[in-house]
Symmetry: C2
Subunit: 137 residues, 2 copies
DNA sequence: CTATAAAATTGTAATGATTACAAACATTTA
DNA sequence: TAAATGTTTGTAATCATTACAATTTTATAG
């Protein structure tokens, strides 16, 4: 599928700027942040503004074309380390719930040469409460 | 184990401030941020500064008494949504690697009433490169 | 082909969490 | 008791993100 078709399929009008941001994400093997995307594309789109990059990424995320990668760059909520568990965050109301009883994730095969200290699992979606409020889409 | 013993066991001197922050985390069922911890404890410790809360949480995290919870509050790195995978971030060099071949996480039993849109897995530890550099502790 | 409306893009300023850093204070050790 | 070490504090700086209004571009109706 061509890139513009991917955007259209997600209900996004494929403007040039959007296409180029999509292309950049598509080619990037790392996980670029806004600054990086802006610096990379600004020479090609001289009028590009950082706000547009923010807007576009928010749009992509909302329409599920892209997703935000959770990293420890800006950590701001804390848990005692004693009870490992996952977190569910509702995209409607923002509430966070603990999720226990997750299957163990075995990493030995996937990461044989790494020393694993911690595994964070964040599940996002719509909680039971918010599903009552919202009609089916 | 008493709280001060927990701190000592992790090599942290149990000062009053540290004990109270530990107690607060221990009692909190949600995932408080720095502001919240500060607001809750400032009446009890009138001289408390926010910097101390930051310092203490960094210490706790470093000594593995607490851990930072990954949430979508400040999302700043992006991925195309098309290839779900986990991320490994090295705590020494900060490098991020993709991790494929993770076992599927089945959430139906754990979250029967929720609508799950996305699952983010962040593994942290020391990468193969950085293990060469560092002698065994 | 205009005129109008809608959507996309831009730039500036504000916000707010986090960090840097040096000073003040407390505690331990010689 | 003095010196050294560790802890706490306050202020200022940083930096990603957001708010918002203005501008430009694109689509649509007459």
């Amino acid at each position: 599928m061509q890139n513009d078709a991917v955007l259209k399929a997600h209900g996004i009008k494929p403007s040039l700027t959007r296409m180029m941001i999509f292309d950049y994400l598509n080619a990037a093997k790392h996980h670029p942040n806004v600054e990086e995307i802006y610096q990379a594309l600004q020479p090609k789109i001289p009028t590009l503004s950082k706000t547009t990059v923010y807007n576009t990424l928010h749009l992509f995320t909302e329409k599920r074309v892209a997703r935000a990668v959770m990293l420890k760059d800006q950590e701001n909520r804390y848990d005692l380390a004693s009870h490992p568990h996952a977190h569910f965050q509702c995209t409607k109301c923002g509430k966070v719930e603990d999720v226990f009883r997750l299957p163990d994730i075995h990493l030995d095969q996937a990461l044989p040469k790494h020393s694993v200290h911690d595994v964070s699992v964040l599940i996002s979606g719509v909680c039971a409460e918010c599903q009552k409020d919202e009609p089916l889409i």
